[in-house]
């Protein structure tokens, strides 16, 4: 049935928004139901800033990441930073 979105491609309105309220012209975040804001969003593994922070910390030795795997007699190990 007719809606402003279906007829004119107008974005559905958010309750509480003021008339002519500024909306981003282009989407800057992936959005979605699991999109978190605040501290939770900052430490979300999906946040590229979080991944970048972990790599940066490991590079400068603030944290360490290590792992190992054994397949019979063979052992594979790797570490980054001060593990």
């Amino acid at each position: 049935m007719y809606t402003a979105a279906s007829q004119y491609g107008v974005q559905p309105q958010i309750p509480g928004a003021a008339a002519g309220a500024a909306k981003p012209t282009f989407g800057l975040s992936p959005g979605g139901p699991d999109d978190k804001g605040g501290v939770a969003g900052l430490v979300n593994p999906r946040n590229p800033l979080f991944v970048f922070g972990v790599l940066l910390a490991a590079t400068f030795g603030l944290i360490g990441v290590s792992g190992s795997a054994r397949f019979g007699p063979a052992k594979l190990a790797a570490d980054l930073g001060k593990a």
């Binding site: 049935m1 809606t3 402003a4 007829q7 004119y8 309105q13 509480g16 008339a19 012209t25």
Partner: protein, 395 residues
């Protein structure tokens, strides 16, 4: 179990308890109502204003304004003629304010006529005989057959017409004010069902001096009256709830005037553009010469480059000649706007609005490019934008 009060819906800034937005249920259940919002009464006077507070009921989709009466010429008529402000710019400015949004409609009567034809291609002025200048024409006048630009016996008047004789010329004119952007879906219509609603129509009548040039020994009086009819849709109750269509958008027609025009390309910046607005149509005209001016016909002799532009130099659509714009406008609107009234425009909704409508949030410095072949004499442009923008909370 704790009872939780249901939060009232806010429509166009008006708290509306027990109302739900449900277009699927609204359309089959509503009823169209057309009734007087102001009974017929004399206009205050040429050069003056009239205003009326409209009835607060239902969902208001449009207003029909009718002007009727006589133009009474006496004395010695020699040297008396009508200007090109007559007849449709008798409504010098039409302003509608609703639900805290001032000037949802703010344009001239001529522009209202143009938008009426653009928005309803079932309308046609073809075959309607009207006098423009020295001759009679049967298309491009924006007149409906039921209208009368002024007639007594076989004498008729019209824009640019020399008044042939004294007498009382009957006049019958009408304008449609589209509060909804679309009269089918009612997108942009006004929610008017509560006492908190504010809905006002104000009309400025053009001055006598701008409507006609009176010969030295001629006299003029008029008996013009006006009335307003509302096109309203009832708010039906379905399963115990009042249901309304999508009222999330306001529909605006806002005109402006500029005289900053010169030979060759002019870039006319559209004011008031911004994020959250969608441009549906823009219609303009240029008048030149002795006040109140004569419309510049949209011909290759008068216009060259016509385009719309944004940003640095992004020009999505451009024509090399005004004739091409006139042809394109006639294709889209079924009316030769440019012939006498000098109207040209860009239409972004008549073919496929979702695809073509201009999101003003992504086109900074939106402007019209208007190329004038010759250096104009005392020119001015009258331009009106038709837009949709977010109502304060809707569907």
């Amino acid at each position: 179990m704790t009872a939780v009060a249901e939060q009232p819906l806010t429509l166009q800034g008006i708290a509306s308890p027990n109302v739900v937005v449900d277009p699927n249920r609204f359309y089959p259940a509503t009823r169209k109502l057309t009734y007087p919002m102001q009974s017929q009464k004399a206009i205050t006077g040429l050069g003056s204003s009239d205003s009326v507070e409209l009835r607060k009921t239902g969902i208001v989709a449009g207003l029909l304004v009718r002007v009727t009466g006589q133009l009474q010429f006496g004395g010695t008529i020699t040297g008396t003629s009508m200007t090109y402000r007559f007849p449709y710019n008798l409504v010098k400015a039409c302003r509608v304010s609703a639900n805290g949004q001032s000037n949802l409609i703010n344009c001239t009567g001529q522009q209202l006529k143009a938008f009426e034809f653009a928005g309803n291609t079932d309308l046609s002025d073809r075959g309607v005989l009207r006098s423009v200048g020295a001759t009679t024409h049967n298309q491009g006048t924006l007149s409906k057959a039921c209208e009368n630009w002024g007639q007594v016996s076989t004498n008729i008047v019209g824009p640019g017409v020399t008044v042939p004789a004294t007498g009382n010329y009957d006049v019958e004119l009408d304008w449609f004010i589209p509060l909804a952007a679309d009269q089918t879906s009612l997108i942009g219509a006004i929610f008017a069902q509560t006492a908190a609603t504010n809905l006002t129509l104000e009309i400025d009548w053009e001055s006598q001096a701008n409507l006609l040039s009176l010969g030295g020994s001629a006299t003029f009086a008029h008996t013009l009256q006006w009335q307003v009819q509302g096109v309203v849709y009832s708010i039906p109750v379905v399963d115990g709830k009042a249901v309304v269509p999508d009222l999330s958008q306001f529909h605006q027609i806002a005109g402006f005037r500029t005289s900053a025009l010169a030979q060759n390309d002019n870039e006319i910046l559209l004011p008031g553009t911004g994020v959250g607005r969608k441009l549906m149509r823009v219609i303009g005209s240029i008048s030149t010469g002795t006040a109140p001016g004569t419309p510049l016909a949209v011909t290759p002799a008068n216009y060259n480059t016509m385009a719309w532009r944004y940003g640095g130099n992004d020009t999505p659509e451009a024509f090399a000649s005004g004739q091409q714009v006139r042809s394109r406008n006639e294709q889209q609107w079924g009316c030769d706007f440019g012939r006498f009234w000098g109207l040209w425009g860009w239409d972004f909704v008549s073919e496929f609005a979702v695809r073509d409508i201009v999101d003003e949030g992504s086109v900074s410095d939106l402007r019209l490019v208007v190329g004038l072949v010759n250096a104009p004499t005392t020119p001015f442009a009258e331009v009106a934008q038709e837009t949709l923008f977010a109502a304060p909370v809707g569907a």
